[in-house]
């Protein structure tokens, strides 16, 4: 089906329910390789690359369409529909925790539970809210991205386009695990770090697990507390690890926490 190809969907494992893993900003579905296989014996394991990342169809990245996270949530729901999945467990990292949240609110029948890995509903500070960052920091991130792409970015036009006549560019993109088209990455960075989905939190009906890292520069402890306070049905688990990617830095603890959350009988 077209949507499965567009998002480079891979399905493995077997079981009555599905675990759908959605990667965050800066990488792609390969981020889950230390965690996802642990569930393949009991679940259908669905991996995907958001449009614009990994091996997704880069030509489908229309900046106007993907100027909000809603469009990515639409894509995730389209994948669930194409695979005819109901009551799935959505595991979203960082910005995709928010994407999962939006998808679960939109179609509760498809998403029974949410695992939010290092989530943040808003990265920027606001009155009475500590997101951790100022607008200037996001500009600094964009500059850093520009500096890192300078060497091989041949995209002269500011428009985002596929370059099928330049296969050497594609070869370069595939050189490293997490590379992507620089113009798309830049756009997605803006959408990610300027998004504010705090108002959506109370609308979630599904139970959610908040997996937070003890020392995470992107999602400080205060953000985890905020989520826990504003989501109607959530558990907060703080993993004893540093960084923003517990599924890479503490995969066993991440797996254990998800398993615990998914046990048929649980205490709220």
């Amino acid at each position: 089906m077209e949507i499965l190809k567009r998002l480079n969907v891979t399905v493995s494992g077997s079981g009555p329910r599905a675990l759908v893993f959605v990667h965050g900003f800066g990488c792609n579905q390969r981020m889950w390789r230390l965690v996802a296989p642990a569930f393949a014996d009991r679940y259908r394991v669905v991996l995907l690359d958001l449009v614009g990342a990994g091996q997704s169809d880069l030509t489908a990245y229309d900046p106007a369409r993907y100027s909000t996270l809603e469009a990515h949530a639409d894509d995730v729901l389209a994948v669930l529909q194409a695979l005819d999945l109901r009551d799935a467990v959505l595991v979203g990292h960082s910005v995709s925790a928010t994407i999962g949240l939006l998808a679960a609110i939109r179609e509760p029948a498809r998403v029974a539970r949410l695992v939010l890995v290092a989530p943040s509903p808003r990265f920027l500070n606001d009155v009475g809210y500590t997101g951790g960052f100022e607008p200037a920091d996001i500009e600094d991130l964009l500059d850093t991205m520009d500096n890192n792409y300078l060497g091989w970015s041949a995209v002269m036009a500011p428009v985002i386009m596929a370059q099928p006549d330049r296969p050497e560019l594609m070869a370069e993109l595939h050189n490293s695990f997490c590379s992507t088209d620089p113009a798309i990455a830049r756009h997605f960075a803006r959408v990610t770090f300027l998004a504010d989905n705090r108002a959506d939190l109370p609308r979630l009906r599904a139970p959610a697990l908040i997996l937070q890292c003890a020392h995470d520069a992107l999602a400080p402890r205060a953000v985890g507390d905020y989520l826990h306070a504003h989501l109607p049905d959530s558990q907060l688990v703080v993993l004893d690890t540093s960084g923003h990617c517990p599924h890479l830095s503490a995969p066993q603890a991440t797996i254990a926490a998800i398993n615990h959350f998914l046990k048929p009988v649980r205490t709220a």
Partner: protein, 391 residues
């Protein structure tokens, strides 16, 4: 050199003489070194990096993490890109970051890092090498700025181009409509005037001369309108097929037969010589228009009292064919008028009727065919046009 030969040479080198020892090499290497725990905490750092940053060792070791030394945007990038890459593939190369010095200054660096794992495969330590790229960053910023500027200019040019194309189209349409709408009433006027001339009688003796002048003015108007119509039609036609070639002899003779008759005793003498190249790479209709304009010009601007002698010849040039039209007419002051020669409606001999369209058309058609036009002229002696067309 084979491996064993290289080994054989080692005893000849005494490294002690260079005072090179590994500890000193680490501390004072021409690059920054540091090592971090998997959580980022700095556990080793060399003197080079400390002096670049202006920190004392005890201020950083076990107290700060590498990503705390980055700018905030750099930290965001490191945590979302570098840190996962290190865990996924064990190394990162040539990452461009800015370090924050103790005094608040910025040090642009290139970062390489490798992740060492213990026997159980668990992350043990991250080794990092940093290179000062202050100068290089400046060039890169210049390049980035130049690229942004080029993009902005390209966009501006595209918009201007679009607007010019639209304006051109509008002008073409306007000229076409105007010439078309003028032609009918002017034709009517000429017909009525001819009728009037035949039937009416005038008492004023000056009337006959005035009638002649009105007739002349009418003919002038008609020829200008025809010229306009032709220009617009030419511009509307698609570019001619570049492969079409046209034979010269028959075409030129046909054009000469169609030229207006000259006064008795002043009949033009034509010399045609196409032996060097019998044909030109140009569409027949276009070449017809070019030659007809050049030949009728040669007659129109003949030197009064001198019998016109016009030579049409071809010659070979490297990669091109040259068509030369030479006359012995009045000639032109090219030093004065050369730059305007091919402009639309530009005229140089007001006493000779003309519309100022001919040379504009010649120039345009030759350019359309990928060629160029050259002129040489001596006032009072004659003019030579050279059309240089690719083979």
């Amino acid at each position: 050199m084979t491996m064993s030969e290289a080994d054989d040479m080692l005893p000849g080198l005494d490294l002690r003489l260079t005072e090179e020892d590994p500890d000193d090499l680490y501390e004072h290497a021409p690059c920054g070194y540091c090592s971090c725990l998997p959580d980022g905490t700095l556990v080793r750092i060399n003197q080079t990096l400390l002096s670049w940053l202006g920190y004392a060792r005890q201020e950083l070791l076990a107290r700060q993490s590498l990503s705390q030394l980055l700018t905030v945007g750099g930290r965001l990038h490191y945590e979302t890109h570098c840190a996962p890459l290190l865990l996924l593939q064990g190394e990162v190369r040539e990452m461009s970051y800015s370090l924050r010095r103790r005094d608040g200054g910025i040090l642009p660096v290139l970062l390489n890092a490798t992740l060492r794992r213990d026997a159980a495969g668990e992350p043990l330590v991250v080794r990092i090498t940093l290179f000062d790229i202050t100068e290089r960053r400046k060039y890169e910023q210049d390049l980035l700025r130049a690229k942004e500027q080029a993009e902005a200019q390209r966009e501006q040019l595209r918009l201007q181009n679009e607007q010019l194309t639209r304006t051109n189209q509008d002008l073409d349409n306007f000229v076409y409509t105007a010439s078309h709408d003028l032609k009918q009433p002017v034709n009517n006027l000429a017909g009525l005037f001819g009728e009037l001339r035949r039937t009416a009688t005038f008492n004023d003796p000056a009337a006959a001369a005035m009638m002649g002048m009105v007739d002349e003015a009418l003919q002038q108007m008609l020829s200008t309108i025809d010229g306009l119509t032709e220009v617009v039609q030419r511009q509307r036609q698609p570019e001619p097929a570049p492969t079409e070639t046209t034979a010269l002899q028959a075409l030129t003779e046909e054009i000469i037969r169609g030229l207006p008759p000259q006064p008795r005793g002043q009949e033009a003498h034509f010399t045609l010589d196409f032996a060097a190249a019998p044909a030109l790479r140009m569409a027949r209709t276009a070449l017809h228009s070019v030659l007809a304009n050049l030949l009728s010009n040669a007659l129109k601007y003949a030197q009064p009292g001198r019998r016109p002698r016009i030579a049409v010849r071809t010659a070979r040039a490297p990669g091109a064919t040259v068509l030369r039209v030479q006359d012995n007419g009045r000639g032109l002051d090219l030093a004065r008028h050369g730059a305007e020669l091919f402009q639309l409606f530009r005229r140089f001999h007001p006493d000779v009727p003309g519309s100022g369209v001919g040379l504009y058309l010649v120039h345009r058609l030759v350019h359309q065919a990928g060629g160029q036009v050259e002129v040489s002229s001596v006032p009072g002696e004659g003019t030579t046009f050279q059309l240089i067309l690719p083979e």
